[in-house]
Amino acid sequence: MTKMVWNRILELLKGYRHLMVLALLFACLQVVFSLIIPIYTGYAIDQMLGVAQVNFSALVGIISKMAVFTVIAVFAQWGLTLTLNQLSYSIIHRLRCESVDVIEHLPIKTLDERAHGDFISRVVTDVEIISDGLIQGLPQLFSGILTILGTLAFMFSISASITLIVLISTPISMIVASQISKKSYSRFKQQSATRGELTGYANEFLENPMLVRVFSYQEETIHLFSEINQRLYSSGQKAQFYSSLTNPSTRLINNTLYTLIGIIGAISAMNGGMSVGSLSAFLVYSTQFMKPFNEISGVLTELQNALASLQRVIDLLDMKQEIEPEGLHELSAIDGAIDMQDVAFSYTDKPFIEHFSMTIEPKRIVAIVGPTGCGKTTLINLIMRFYEINSGVIRIDDWSLDDISKDSLRHSIGMVLQDSWLFKGTIKENIAYGRPDASDEEIIQVAKETYLHDFILRMKDGYDTVVSEEDTGISQGQKQLLCLARVILSNPPVLILDEATSNIDTRTERAIQVTIDRMMEQKTSIIIAHRLSTIEKADKIIVMKDGRIIETGKHQELLSKHGFYSQLYQAQFENQ
């Protein structure tokens, strides 16, 4: 539990000062009035001296006062609960929002490297635990401390000497509680880390149900899952057991205290030191006094759990983000010239692309070909700024990519990747992803142009049919067509097609070629494709191998060179 974490907690609570103040106010009211009531109980009992010696008029007065106090305490408590709810659920919400704000700015590399399930576990489960423990716990801690102080004051007013016994025992229970919570903190930390691991593991397989089945991997994955799960059990069981010792331990101390007060109080009452009524009030106080201790110690363990989760959320919030400086240029209507000069890039510590230079004139069609793994997709990643170059410069219309905002850059480029991606939503929403304001007519128009219209109409709810990436009722080729339709609808000045039609059959491809050709008119287009028929028409073909450009030129020029391109080209006929 470092100081930093506490600072973060305070920071987190900052925006909710008014709620905190309100909560404190209600807590004070509640504590004070619920503490006064036992005093009056004592008074009331002192009116009952014995047979025919009960002072009823005084009793009525006392009871009616108590009634008023009760009502105040009830309302204070109600207000406190409502305020705390508001506070804690707002903080859950806020933590989640802050988390996605961070995720939004994380480099793609970071996202690729980590299990998505672990992110989910942090944002969903850990945040929940924080609010359960921390947010509900802190005020309980506060009202607990208030109760203790208040009780002490009231007790002092009755008997100083007995109160001293109570005071001596206080450090003991605090020490016991803190020892226990120290022990449980490390267990809780381990528990939430293992929980993240389990979610990460399971999520990968839950997202790929077909893989598990095709490879008959069920038994194995169930086995591995249960292994992680077993570790989660053992850390969870220990965390829970150690933390649950706090309550009984403080209760042990408090009950001992209760007994001691009783014995000493009785002796002193016997000697006329205090009245039976006072002793009764005192005993009620000592129970009252125990209650917050029990609560606080219980809260402390909850806090440990929450802190362990908070640490994980803080780790997420502190991940290195890509934050853009202010005042970057916003690209608007552009010509679409792309220029790369002496670019170097690597995914790992091994250089992948070095001294790479390439120029694409505006409104031209450029095709990039080469064996897989030669760096074609990497180029796209760099132009889209999914990854940052190590050195060199990439320019678009004479603007260095570093000087323009990423959003405006990406708005200017339409990209279709080989891996289609549909989000869970209607077909209509999926097509209109790049332009949510598109009208139904426009959506239907592009669906027709991409030969999806008939298929969509055959689906259960037509354009309103809900689809998702996991859906197998819609074929891979159709998903690619949907992704293509998306980009056609958003109509950006630069177009990147990375194997965008690889799963589409050639007849359909040929049919939509008209659409694609029309789309590429007046646009800078970068095409990556293995089907060489799609790239024959390119204004320029760039042939890559091992991260380098080895040939450039038009189709016919390259063929007549009898180089690498011509080999690639011949391959598709030779082998038939």
């Binding site: 009871i63 309302f75 899952f225 039976v276």
Partner: protein
């Protein structure tokens, strides 16, 4: 097994835990009673002996109570974490038993929430059940009984107070259960948006739609928040009302107690004891009120877990684990298929026969049912009509593993798992040796790029193979299936990201390395399938024609069109 059955596994803990808690509670209850003796016998009679004797007894009770409660806490931690662990295992196992279609229908997001969030809620409820819920009623009932011993008339007040409180607890619980179910459903939605944000990050950023996605998440989160606050409002009345009723009880006890003291029916020390019991009851009930929320959420969550646990797989595996010999290898008879909630046939009247070592090509337009046919051959789905015979026996007679090891499917959508390459290649059988893996990599034309790095088979693959190019992923996926050395290899458009040279090299290596392996090539490229023994042409789920390349060129209009679309350009050159 439903959620409740998992509780039964911990019967002993569920019984013994509360019993020890009960003992502790009884001891605790005895304390005020003994205290009353100290006051009424000790102080009033000036009897120091009684005071010390009773005092020591109280200490002994306190210490043994502590021992009992430790035992109870231990049982509680074992049972609650045990139930949670066992539920997670059961859920995960159930999900893996369900069919592809069922899992897909549920969606991974809701499954993730159910394994995590919902099981956590149940776990918490179990812990509280053992630790607190049982203790509270004991204390409450015990207090009432002991109060009854002191004074039967005043106990009526106790009973009235408790009935009122029980009503409050019951009605808040009833009101809030549906809320919590809905909230868990909204957490599903939250998980969905978040995981889409992660998996679709490239597309989202390419459309510069991060802000929109973030907003979508925030809206989902806000939705959860509002529901939580709303249900919180219902729960918020519990504690204050409990406090109100208990205090009214105290006031009544004081008033009527005062009257009885006046009438000589009661001692003032007994009034103290009665008030103490009410305070005890209050403290216990505060706990009950707090855990009522936990129970309510637990109930809602166990209903959601049960929803999954009670699902039955749409179909189950057969018993056959030996493959009969001397039959036709694969026979498809009048096969038809439609998805459960669909009204269109994805496949109709498909019939063909494949002999050992043959090559079958399948070609057809986008959405013509090629992949669906591959799924059916792997029994990922069950045919709606018609039959598929593998060595003379229907697919459903075989065990899944036997079938899927013999019919190796390379899925169109390549999926690699985070971990080493060796782990990925050994997915079907971790005991596959390096030699076999290397052979598979060679055939799949993946050897060079894998062994360019010194890590080789130990190379780390990121989630979904994100650190590899599309073509590399495809080749590794092919190698992974080859490691199974299946009798039939189905390649579902698995060359789409490969250049023609690699495509050719791969197909030649396949043929020469595994001459007896039957191969089903599903492809868009005529060049990939034209030497097949027979080619199946599909169009909108229907079998248009079946024959060799030459036959089809003559007879099949669809095939001719496809052929022209791929060679048309070349003809003009």
């Amino acid at each position: 097994m439903r959620v409740f059955d998992h509780f039964l596994r911990y019967k002993k803990h569920f019984v013994l835990g509360p019993i020890f808690k009960l003992l502790e509670a009884i001891f605790e209850l005895l304390l005020p009673l003994l205290m009353a003796r100290i006051i009424d016998e000790g102080i009033l009679n000036h009897d120091l002996n009684t005071i010390t004797k009773v005092g020591l007894m109280m200490l002994a009770l306190t210490i043994s109570g502590y021992g009992f409660s430790i035992i109870c806490q231990y049982f509680a931690s074992v049972a609650s974490q045990g139930v949670g662990t066992s539920l997670r295992n059961a859920l995960y196992q159930k999900i893996n038993e369900l069919t592809q279609e069922q899992v897909q229908h549920l969606g991974s997001n809701t499954l993730t929430t159910r394994i995590n969030s919902d099981v956590n809620q149940i776990q918490l409820a179990v812990a509280m059940l053992i630790r607190l819920a049982v203790r509270a009623p004991f204390i409450v009932i015990g207090s009432v009984v002991l109060a009854g011993i002191i004074n039967l008339q005043l106990t009526a007040i106790f009973v009235a107070v408790m009935i009122l409180i029980a009503l409050v607890l019951y009605s808040t619980m009833r009101k809030s259960i549906p809320f919590y179910r809905r909230i868990q459903g909204k957490i599903d939605q939250l998980t969905l948006v978040l995981s889409e944000n992660l998996s679709g990050v490239r597309v989202i950023r390419a459309f510069a739609a991060q802000h929109r996605e973030t907003k979508r998440f925030k809206e989902a989160s806000q939705d959860v928040r509002q529901d939580l606050i709303r249900v919180g409002r219902i729960a918020a009345v519990m504690n204050p009302l409990t406090y109100l009723f208990v205090n009214c009880g105290i006031l009544l006890v004081l008033w009527f107690g005062g009257k009885q003291v006046d009438g000589g029916l009661l001692l003032s020390g007994q009034v103290v004891a009665l008030v103490n019991y009410l305070t005890q009851i209050f403290l216990a009930l505060v706990v009950v009120a707090n855990i009522t929320v936990i129970f309510t959420r637990g109930f809602a969550s166990s209903a959601r877990v049960n929803e999954i646990l009670k699902l039955q797989p749409q179909f189950t595996e057969g018993a056959l684990d030996v493959i009969p010999s001397s039959f036709t290898q694969l026979e498809v008879q009048d096969l038809g298929f439609r998805y459960q909630d669909s009204h269109i046939d994805f496949l109709q009247h498909i019939s063909f026969t494949v002999e050992e070592g043959e090559i079958l090509g399948i070609i057809g337009g986008t959405g013509s049912g090629k992949s669906t046919l591959a799924y059916l051959l792997n029994r990922l789905y069950d045919a709606s009509c018609g039959r598929i015979l593998f060595y003379g026996r229907e697919l459903k007679d075989y065990r899944f593993k036997t079938l899927r090891d013999s019919i190796g499917l390379v899925m169109q959508k390549n999926a690699l798992l985070s971990g080493t390459l060796r782990y990925n290649l050994g997915l079907s059988d971790p005991s596959i040796d390096d030699e076999r893996m290397i052979e598979a990599l060679r055939v799949a034309q993946a050897y060079d790029f894998v062994f360019k790095d010194k890590q080789g088979l130990d190379a780390v693959i990121e989630q979904g193979g994100k650190n590899l190019s599309g073509g590399q992923r495809q080749r590794l996926c092919i190698a992974r299936t080859l490691c199974k050395q299946p009798r039939i290899l189905i390649l579902d458009d698995s060359f789409s990201a490969l250049d023609y040279a690699t495509d050719y090299a791969l197909r030649s290596a396949l043929r020469s390395t595994y001459p007896h392996m039957t191969m089903v090539f599903i492809s868009q490229r005529i060049s990939s399938i034209q030497y097949a023994n027979q080619i199946l042409v599909l169009d909108q789920g229907k079998q248009v024609s079946l024959g060799t390349h030459d036959e089809l060129l003559k007879a099949s209009v669809v095939y001719q069109e496809i052929y022209r679309s791929q060679n048309g350009g070349a003809e003009h050159d």
